[in-house]
Amino acid sequence: MAEPILQKIAVAETHAVTAGSPPTSPLIEIRNLSLHYGSSRALKDINLLIRERVVTSFIGPSGCGKSTLLRCLNRMNDLIDTVRIEGSVSVGGHNIYAPDIDVIELRKRIGMVFQKSNPFPKSIYDNVAYGLRLQGVRRRSELDASVEKSLRRAALWDEVKERLQTSGLGLSGGQQQRLCIARAIAIQPEIILMDEPASALDPIATSRIEDLILELKKEFTIVIVTHNMQQAARVSDDTAFFYIGELVEFGPTSRIFTSPSQKRTEDYVTGRFG
C-alpha cells in the first residue's frame, strides 16, 4: 500500500517545528481510515498522526466528517448501528479497532467533551466523582481530593467550592462546559477529545475555555474539533483541514493558516467558503 505523500509532508513538518523542544512521538496513528453510514461514505481514506501533548485541531465546513473522525478515536461511533469502519486507529501502538480491545478501558483512557454541555442532573460533586466511582473508588477522602484537583485544573474550583452539593445544571453554560472538562479529567485520561466545546458559549466563556485548553496541554494530548478558525489558530499546534470526508491538508497550525499548500485550504481559512 502506497503511503500518501500528504502525510509524509505533515510528519516532516511537525518534527521540524518541535525541534529544540522535547521530542513528541505520534500518540495516535490513523491509517487508511474510511467510515460508512449505511451506504454513504463519511470518511475517505484518512491518514493522520497526532502528537503527544500538543493540541491538534480538526477544521472544515459542516458535514466534512471532522466530528465523525473525532468520535472514531474513542469508538463512540460504535453506538450507531449502521456504521462500518475500515482501516486502523492506533493509540500508543495498539490498534483500538482490534477485536481484543476493551472499549470500556479505552474510553477511560480517552476522555471526551461534547458540543452541547451535558452535565448529569446530579450535584457538581457527583458529576466530577462519577467516573471515579465507576472505577470503584469509594473512600471519601480520595474522592474529595480528586474532585477538588479536577475542578481546580478545570479553572472552576473557586466559583463552585461553596456549592459542591448543588446541581450541576444550575451553573452557567460556560461553567457547565468546564464542569464537563473537570469530569473528563478526573479519571486521568491520556487524551481529551473536544467536539466544538465552545460553540454554544459567549466570547468571554469561550476565551476561558481556550485558556484552559492551553493549560491542559501540558498534561494531556488534546484533539479539538472547531468551526471557529480563530480558535483553531489560537489554541492548536497542528491543524487538519477536512472537506467532504477527505483530509485535504495537515500540518503545523501556523503554516496551515499562513501558507497552505492546497487551494481549498486557502479558500477556507481566508473565509472564501465554509
Partner: protein, 312 residues
C-alpha cells in the same frame, strides 16, 4: 398628499365563535357527567357509610343492613392491586429498557414485540380472565402442585396471586409504553457522557437513565393501578369469591373484591330496595379505595420529582 388608511371595523368571527363554543361545551359535558356520577354516589352512599361498615366482616346473608360490612373486600382489592404492581412494574420496566436501550431499532424481533404489546392492550379483559384460568391456574398452578406433591391442591385453584398476575399481564402494555416514552425523553447526550467516561451500558442505565425516568415509570404504575383497581372480569375465574367468612391469610387464598361485590349486590339480592343503600355505600367505598391507591402513588411521584428537580 398623505392618506392614512383606516383600519377595517372588527367583524364577528363566526367560525372562531362556533368552535370555541363547541370545545367549551364538550368540556362542560365531561365535567357534568363526572359531577353527576360523583354527586349521585355521594348523596346516596354517604348515609350507609360508617366505621362499622368498613371494619366488619359480613355474614353470609349480606344483603340486609344488619349483616353487612366490606372489610374483606377492601382488603382483597387493595392486596390484589399491590401484588399486581409488584409484578407489573419490574417486568414492564425491563421490557421497556430492552426495547429502547438494547433492541436494534427496526429489527424484525423489535417490531414483533412492539406489535405484541399493542395487541395486548386491545385484548378484552374477560379474555385475560380466561387466560389466567388456563395458564396460571390450570397450567402453572396444577403443575406446581404435582411437583410439590400437594394432593389437596394449594396452587392449582383460584387465588390472590393468580388474580394479581392476570391483572399484571393486562396492565403490562400501559407500563411498557409509558416507561418507553420517559426513556426516550432522556437526552442522548447524557448517555454519551456516561459511556465516554468508561461506563458500561448497564452502568449508564442504572446510574443515569433510570433515575431520570423514575417519574415516568411511576406514571405508568399509576395508570396501571387506576385501570386494575376497578376491573372485575380478569379476576372472575382467577381468584375472587362470592363469600368468605374470614380475611385471606395467604396469597394462595381466594378473596372478596369490591368491584365484584357491587356486581353481586346488584344481581343476587332477594330484596332490591333493602340492598340499595348497601350497594351505594359499597360503590362509594370502591371509589374511595381507588382514589386512595392513586393518591398514594401520586404523592410518592411528586416527592421523587421534587428530589430530581432539586438536582436538575
Amino acid at each position: 398628499m398623505s392618506q392614512v388608511r383606516h383600519f377595517r371595523a372588527r367583524r364577528f368571527d363566526f367560525a372562531s365563535f362556533f368552535f370555541s363554543s363547541l370545545a367549551g361545551l364538550s368540556t362542560l359535558l365531561i365535567l357534568g357527567i363526572l359531577a353527576w356520577i360523583l354527586i349521585n354516589i355521594l348523596m346516596n352512599g354517604a348515609g350507609g357509610l360508617s366505621w362499622h361498615f368498613v371494619s366488619t366482616i359480613p355474614k353470609k346473608d349480606f344483603f340486609v343492613l344488619a349483616n353487612t360490612g366490606v372489610l374483606p373486600m377492601i382488603v382483597g382489592t387493595t392486596i390484589r392491586v399491590l401484588v399486581m404492581t409488584i409484578f407489573v412494574i419490574p417486568v414492564g420496566v425491563i421490557t421497556a429498557i430492552y426495547l429502547t436501550e438494547y433492541a436494534p431499532n427496526n429489527s424484525p424481533l423489535t417490531r414483533v414485540i412492539r406489535a405484541a404489546v399493542n395487541n395486548l392492550a386491545g385484548v378484552p379483559s374477560i379474555v385475560f380472565g380466561l387466560f389466567g384460568l388456563g395458564f396460571f391456574i390450570n397450567f402453572i398452578g396444577k403443575n406446581l402442585d404435582a411437583l410439590l406433591h400437594n394432593p389437596s391442591g394449594v396452587w392449582g385453584q383460584p387465588a390472590i396471586i393468580w388474580a394479581s398476575l392476570t391483572l399484571a399481564v393486562m396492565t403490562l402494555p400501559v407500563v411498557i409504553v409509558t416507561t418507553e416514552e420517559s426513556l426516550k425523553a432522556i437526552p442522548q447526550g447524557l448517555r454519551e457522557a456516561s459511556l465516554a467516561l468508561g461506563a458500561t451500558k448497564l452502568e449508564t442505565i442504572v446510574k443515569v437513565v433510570l433515575p431520570q425516568a423514575l417519574p415516568g415509570i411511576m406514571t405508568g404504575g399509576i395508570l396501571a393501578v387506576s385501570r386494575a383497581s376497578g376491573e372485575v372480569a380478569p379476576i372472575l375465574f382467577t381468584g375472587v369469591t362470592y363469600y368468605m367468612a374470614s380475611l385471606p391469610h395467604s396469597l394462595t387464598d381466594q378473596f372478596m373484591d369490591l368491584g365484584n361485590h357491587v356486581y353481586v349486590l346488584c344481581t343476587q339480592s332477594p330484596n332490591i330496595e333493602e340492598t340499595r343503600p348497601i350497594l351505594y355505600a359499597t360503590v362509594l367505598v370502591l371509589l374511595m379505595v381507588t382514589f386512595a391507591l392513586n393518591f398514594v402513588a401520586i404523592i410518592v411521584r411528586a416527592r421523587v420529582r421534587k428530589k430530581l428537580r432539586a438536582l436538575g
